[in-house]
């Protein structure tokens, strides 16, 4: 019996102690007619060997591509030490640290994580993680609405340059609380400042600013922040944390800094892995701490005065406050945070800076070269972090398919997300791509484009 240690002899002894004749008797409070028959839709069990064989075959089917897709999930090198340590049984198979004395490892680690995220975002308080970038942004919106003392509005302004999947997720998560998201129009893939001015004077709880935005482009975060603050809104920064090694920290935006920063933690040591587990991070100014959803770890002392770590401000959480909690979140993304904390410790700020810089320069180099291919259009004037849009002379989906046949996933076909942009490709370069890789990309792109002619 896989994973069940009971021998015949054990079972007999246990039944006798309980005072029943069979295991089935233990279910006698369940109406008989409700009990399950065979689960015919399920195959017989496999040995670990057979299971791994099957899974290896499946995994191999999808393997072997050089990936230039970004769009919210980025291929960075993950140091070997990260997961060697994160998957130690003591980290991987522990529960939420409710018994603090038996969980000091996890608790101290999360305290260190919180500190790192505060440092990176330039804000005061971090929680222990949300599910992912999109759900974290949803919670940031809810938090801003609860926390904005200047506004009673349940409306939030969102830059139209936000990742479309994020917008969808926020929408589904906040809609039932009568919250409205107003999407701001774009001008050439960044926020249209003129359109923004038209919202002046209206009552919104917050403005959501992505940086870099979905198209890899940079928003004028300082102006936006100051504008929103002048209108009495809170500012929610939705950032790629890797970009923060180069770009202004949310706490540095404008005169007073963004109020809340959030985003997807995946670039910090988490494999692409089909979208998860990743983690959403969430930091804010001290004034908003009681609106924070999720767990927060605090440092305190034990009864001998020795420092130690524990869950704190639990009166915000569902297990204490139930229907009055700041969120329903319970399980978060602890192990992903463990990996990220190890990653950040290994890289340090200067390592992170080098990764971000190499990614940025790689993207610069590729878009430069692509701009020289006939028929491609790339906007070289506009600053990007490590991702950029290329306009192709034909359907991006077709180009993706043709390049995939040569082992390259050249980017995201934008038409799948944004109607009318069928010929556009969103391309990402990180430090994992060498000069030769970029040359090959250009060569394959060229061959694919000429092929069709």
């Amino acid at each position: 019996m896989p994973f069940i240690p009971h021998t015949e002899h054990d079972i007999a002894r246990m039944l006798q102690t309980i005072g029943v004749g069979s295991v089935n008797e233990l279910f006698d409070e369940i109406p008989v007619h409700l009990r399950s028959r065979d689960l015919d839709g399920i195959q017989p069990g496999l040995s670990e060997m057979a299971m791994l064989r099957l899974m290896s075959e499946r995994a191999a089917q999808d393997d072997g591509y050089a990936c230039y897709i970004g769009a919210g999930a980025y291929e960075h090198h993950v140091p070997a030490a990260v997961w060697d340590i994160a998957t130690r049984g003591e980290f991987m198979t522990a529960y939420t640290p409710y018994q603090a004395e038996a969980s000091q490892g996890t608790l101290q680690l999360v305290y260190e994580f919180q500190t790192m995220m505060c440092q990176l975002t330039g804000l005061d308080v971090s929680n222990a993680s949300m599910y992912d970038g999109a759900s974290a942004l949803s919670e940031a919106v809810l938090m801003a609405i609860r926390g904005n003392r200047k506004s009673k509005s349940k409306k939030v302004l969102v830059a139209g340059s936000l990742h479309p999947n994020y917008l969808q997720a926020v929408q589904s998560i906040v809609v039932h609380q009568q919250i409205t998201l107003e999407v701001l129009p774009l001008q050439g893939d960044v926020l249209d400042m003129a359109a923004l001015e038209q919202q002046a004077g209206q009552d919104y709880a917050a403005l959501v600013v992505p940086q870099p935005n979905f198209f890899g482009r940079l928003e004028d975060v300082h102006t936006l922040t100051d504008w929103a603050h002048a209108q009495g809104m809170l500012v929610i920064a939705c950032v790629n944390p890797m970009a923060l090694a180069l770009l202004s920290a949310p706490g540095e935006w404008g005169q007073n800094g963004a109020d809340i920063a959030t985003g997807e933690g995946q670039p910090f040591g988490l494999p692409l892995a089909s979208g998860g587990p990743y983690f959403g991070f969430l930091t804010c100014k001290e004034a908003l701490v009681r609106q924070m959803p999720g767990r927060i770890i605090g440092r305190t002392v034990d009864l001998e005065g020795k420092p130690g770590f524990t869950l704190t401000l639990q009166a915000r959480e569902q297990h204490i406050r139930r229907s009055k909690a700041t969120s329903n979140i319970c399980t978060n993304q602890g192990l992903a945070v463990t990996a990220a904390t190890i990653y950040l410790s290994l890289l340090g700020f200067s390592g992170l800076h080098q990764v971000a810089q190499s990614s940025h320069l790689g993207a610069q180099a590729l878009r430069q070269r692509l701009s020289q291919l006939e028929g491609l259009r790339v906007d070289l004037d506009q600053p990007v972090f490590h991702e950029f849009v290329v306009r192709l002379p034909k359907s991006a989906q077709a180009v993706v398919a043709a390049m995939a046949a040569q082992g390259i996933l050249p980017g995201l076909a934008l038409g799948e997300f944004l109607p009318g942009r069928d010929n556009e490709l969103l391309v990402c370069v990180t430090e994992t791509k060498t000069e030769q890789d970029l040359e090959r990309y250009v060569a394959v792109m060229q061959s694919v484009l000429t092929e069709g002619q």
Binding site: M1, F3, P5, H6, M14, T17, L26, F27, E29, R35, S36, G41, Q43, E48, S56, A59, Q61, D63, A73, P79, R88, E90, M92, T93, A94, E101, A102, Q104, Q108, E112, D132, G133, S135, N165, A169, S172, V175, L218, V221, L272, S274, G276, P277, F279, V289, G298, D302, K306, T312, R322, T331, N332, G334, L346, L352, H353, V355, L361, G362, V400
Partner: protein, 492 residues
């Protein structure tokens, strides 16, 4: 010592720095970062040693018996972890084209089918990233259902008082009011009170069965009938599915929608707080509202082809819950686990988790402890109340919990559910052997003897952990949640 206290300016794990790339930065000066973040400046060895040693301060399934009630801390098969860590899975981008994703999609499709089968439901979405998000998706679907019928008066979700905190919190996130239903002394819902509570305002009821009292709700069919007749729907909180896996299916009990905690029932590791995964399953009435994406299967030229179903395919969907596909890696682990168990293995989960709990309950009773529901069968978990011990020795449930750590056992869940005073909610799971169960009971009996003879010892526990009992009040009052770098030294 914190990692920040070990660094030295300019130190770093330089093998982790990428080769330098030359070229001109295209970033405008005003958008550049002004002050570097104070991240650790340590060597690779320091990082490895620091975090290895931190890990050693944790209890975990891999090191200790961990009978934390409601959490199903069972063995997390290393094989499932290996499967999900195959390079082909780790390297796949969430937005990779479908043609380059057939292996991954096939796994997800198969998992959907397996979950339908074990729950007895008509449709599954794997998106929710934990139990609570599953609850959110489920209740949002209930709302979508009523809305689609223009039944806007339903503004209330019923929740038995024993419910987990996520239930009421979720209802509120979905815009509902919460009404609590009392639980009787025998652990079952007060059916009469429920009948009085339902009405045209009832959107639905959220229930855990077996409940968090560790007993099976015997009146489930009447409850279903009552709620359904009032026009409400039934939500099943699947946190306790382990108790009945393969024995009785929520769909057969009359539930309309449910979530599963794969990080409990399907043995994916809990990671010291997460990640989890909380797929939702629905009956036919709610199928149109499932969150997206879902994996569909078609035959093309006699071959199975898998593809994403999104908002175009499911226009009434309650929407998207994450940027991509939820906790995909956890889904792969759960699928691997399901493959390992297979059809026969599913039954055994319910059977042996129940056997273990009943055996422990019987032994503890013999040892003089007080069961909260002595007249009931235990399910996969059961509750002790330590009120007698508190009265006799002045030693409470938390003291027992802390002292257990000194004996090398993780504590049961304490003070939940709220309606049983001084409670310990104990869940051994099916993967623990009789020896561990007996060892735990022996430790409990010894602690009881200590409580009688030297209560201060127990009240001062733990004594053998990295720290003694922590000052939670100070933690909240003098909030220190972010290292200040002002030179103060912690000696953790």
């Amino acid at each position: 010592m914190l990692i920040f206290e070990q660094g030295s300016q300019g130190r770093g794990a330089s093998a982790q720095r990428p080769e330098a790339r030359h070229g001109e930065s295209g970033l405008p000066a005003n958008l550049l970062r002004k002050t570097p973040a104070k991240l650790p400046e340590v060597s690779e060895l320091q990082v490895v040693r620091h975090f290895t040693n931190l890990s050693r301060k944790n209890f975990s399934i891999d090191t200790h018996f961990y009978p934390l009630g409601s959490c199903t801390m069972k063995y997390n098969p290393r094989g499932a972890h290996r499967a999900a860590s195959l390079p082909g899975f780790l390297k796949r981008h969430p937005l990779a084209p479908e043609a380059q994703s057939q292996g991954f999609l096939a796994c997800l499709y198969d998992l959907q089918e397996i979950l339908k089968e074990v729950t007895g439901m008509a449709g599954v979405s794997l998106c929710p990233m934990a139990g609570a998000q599953g609850e959110f998706a489920g209740v949002a679907m209930i709302r979508a259902y009523h809305d689609a019928r223009q039944d806007y008066a339903r503004n209330e979700i019923l929740v038995p008082e024993a419910a987990h905190g996520t239930n009421p919190a979720t209802a509120v996130m979905c815009g509902y009011k919460v009404r609590e239903i009392p639980v009787r002394g025998d652990g079952d819902v007060d059916l009469e009170a429920l009948k009085l509570a339902v009405g045209p305002q009832t959107a639905g009821i959220m229930m855990t069965n077996p409940s968090t009292c560790g007993v099976f709700e015997r009146q489930i069919e009447q409850i279903a009938k009552t709620v359904h007749e009032a026009g409400g729907l039934l939500y099943y909180d699947g946190a306790n599915l382990n108790a009945i896996l393969g024995k009785v299916r929520p769909g057969d009990m009359g539930f309309d929608v449910l979530h599963m905690n794969l990080h409990k029932t399907f043995a994916t590791p809990h990671g010291g707080g997460g990640p989890g995964s909380g797929p939702v399953a629905v009956g036919p009435r709610l199928q149109a509202y499932l969150p997206t994406p879902i994996v569909g299967r078609e035959e093309r030229d006699g071959k199975a082809v898998y593809r994403w179903l999104g908002m175009d395919d499911l226009p009434q969907s309650m929407g998207r819950l994450s940027a991509f596909m939820g906790n995909a890696g956890i889904l792969l682990r759960a699928y691997a686990y399901a493959l390992l168990l297979g059809k026969e293995g599913m039954h055994r989960v319910g059977e042996f988790s129940t056997l273990n709990a009943n055996y422990m309950a019987a032994l503890l009773k013999q040892a003089g402890f007080t069961l909260a529901y002595p007249q009931r069968r235990a399910t996969h978990e059961f509750i002790l109340t330590m009120s007698p011990e508190l009265k006799k020795f002045g030693v409470n449930a938390m003291d027992f919990a802390k002292r257990l750590l000194d004996y090398g056992y993780h504590a049961p869940t304490t003070y939940f559910p709220l309606l049983v005073p001084e409670c310990l909610l104990i869940e051994p799971t099916e993967t623990e052997s009789i020896d561990e169960l007996e060892g735990f009971v022996k430790a409990m009996a010894q602690i009881r003897a200590e409580a009688e003879n030297s209560p201060e010892l127990v009240k001062g526990a733990p004594l053998t952990q990295p720290v003694r009992r922590l000052d939670d009040v100070r933690a909240a009052r003098e909030l220190d949640v972010n290292y200040s770098f002002s030179g103060r030294v912690a000696e953790a």
